[in-house]
């Protein structure tokens, strides 16, 4: 549970139940700062590095990311910080995501060869 996300009606940190929530500006700024710091730590790290940390992070903040992503997908305009948070989160998720199997280099070479000769 993300203690930074607060019930907008009471101002209390969530303890469960279904309530109407929103990502407050201070929540977004705080998580964004944490994400940027983490992103710096991972620069140069290999694929899959930091997976355990992602799991921990996901438990705490994925709901916030998903909320922003869904708002953006529905066409709602996000402010600068919200957009930055979403982009930073997605960049980290992409980096940690195991790559799907790509077309092997030798087949790519054949494809290029075919396209050149036809």
């Amino acid at each position: 549970m993300n203690p930074l996300i607060r019930n907008t009606h009471t101002g209390n940190a969530l303890t469960g139940g279904v309530t109407k929530l929103t990502a407050t500006p201070s929540t977004v700024a705080s998580v964004l700062a944490e994400l940027r710091e983490w992103n710096r730590d991972l620069v140069g790290a290999g694929e899959g590095a930091g997976v355990e940390r992602l799991q921990l992070f996901a438990e705490r903040h994925m709901d916030l990311r998903d909320d922003l992503a869904w708002r953006a997908a529905r066409g709602e305009r996000l402010n600068v910080r919200e957009r930055a948070l979403l982009e930073a989160f997605d960049a980290i998720l992409d980096r940690l995501m195991p790559s799907p199997t790509r077309v092997p280099p030798d087949v790519r070479q054949v494809m290029d060869d075919v396209l050149r000769t036809m």
Binding site: M1, I5, L14, G16, V18, T19, K20, L21, T22, L54, Q55, A58, E59, M62, D63, D66, D67, A69, W70, R71, A72, A73, R74, D90, L93, D94, L96, M97, P98, S99, P100, T101, R102, V103, P104, D106, V107, R108, V110, M111, D113, V114, L115, T117, M118
Partner: protein, 237 residues
């Protein structure tokens, strides 16, 4: 009313399963060559996903009808994880009150839900399932992330090259099928390599209803069966 079945899986093997992993070979065979059921891309290591999470449906923990192969990206904490419409974490999202369900290739026609663009991006088609499909792409499975997009782009390129190659072979009066294309010519050898690769990714194209002008199954039928039986230790009785 039962949903329309898009992919019929063969009968699961008769065994006394101890863990869901016992069905891994059957799922691998059914979905062909390491294809993830959610993103339809091939991955090196697939997990066995409980469509209804074990924590919400304990009685279906070993039910083969509740299992799908999924890559770590789709099934992990950045993806579906233990998603269930009633999952308390999900219900905290103010706009996620509809309880959308995760994509399921057995019942959802990906070709009706999405267009795969040439650059690998998914475009959600309008219709009554639009919001659910969009939510799956952007929120739950995150199919918009660059790694997935690049992999799809490569497959679209492969399809386009195969299309041109088949057309070219036909103009030359040659047979394009994998089994009979002549390996003695450079074109024949190239056709064999590309159509083999296409055969390995055929389910991707099937799921998104992407067709070659030439029937890809006719081109690759025997090869597909050979791949399946060689790469998986289990075949249906």
């Amino acid at each position: 009313m039962n949903p329309v079945t898009r992919i019929s899986l063969p009968e699961p093997p008769a065994l006394t399963p101890v863990s869901a992993r016992d069905f891994a070979a059957w799922l691998s065979w059914s979905f062909f060559d390491g294809i993830c059921a959610y993103c339809a891309l091939q991955s090196r290591a697939l997990e066995v996903d409980h469509v209804e999470p074990a924590s919400y449906a304990k009685e279906r923990r070993l039910d083969p009808g509740n299992l799908l192969p999924a890559c770590r990206a789709c099934n992990g904490p950045g993806g579906k994880s233990d998603y269930h419409p009633d999952h308390v974490e999900r219900r905290r999202l103010p706009r996620d009150t509809t309880g959308y369900s995760a994509l399921d290739p057995r019942f959802d026609d990906f070709g009706l839900l999405f267009d795969v663009l040439e650059d690998g991006r998914l475009s959600v088609r309008p219709g009554k399932e639009h919001d659910r499909a969009l939510w799956n792409v952007q929120v739950l499975l995150k199919l918009h992330l660059p790694k997935k997009v690049r992999a799809r782009q490569e497959l679209m390129e492969l399809r386009a090259v195969a299309e041109r190659l088949v057309e070219h072979l036909r103009e030359e009066g040659l047979d394009a099928s994998v089994e009979t294309s002549s390996p003695t010519t450079r074109l024949g050898e190239n056709a064999r390599i590309i159509l083999n690769m296409l055969a390995r990714r055929l389910l991707f194209y099937d799921l998104f209803s992407l067709k070659l002008s030439e029937d890809p199954k006719a081109l690759t039928r025997n090869r597909r069966h050979a791949l399946r039986t060689r790469e998986c230790g289990w075949t249906p009785s």
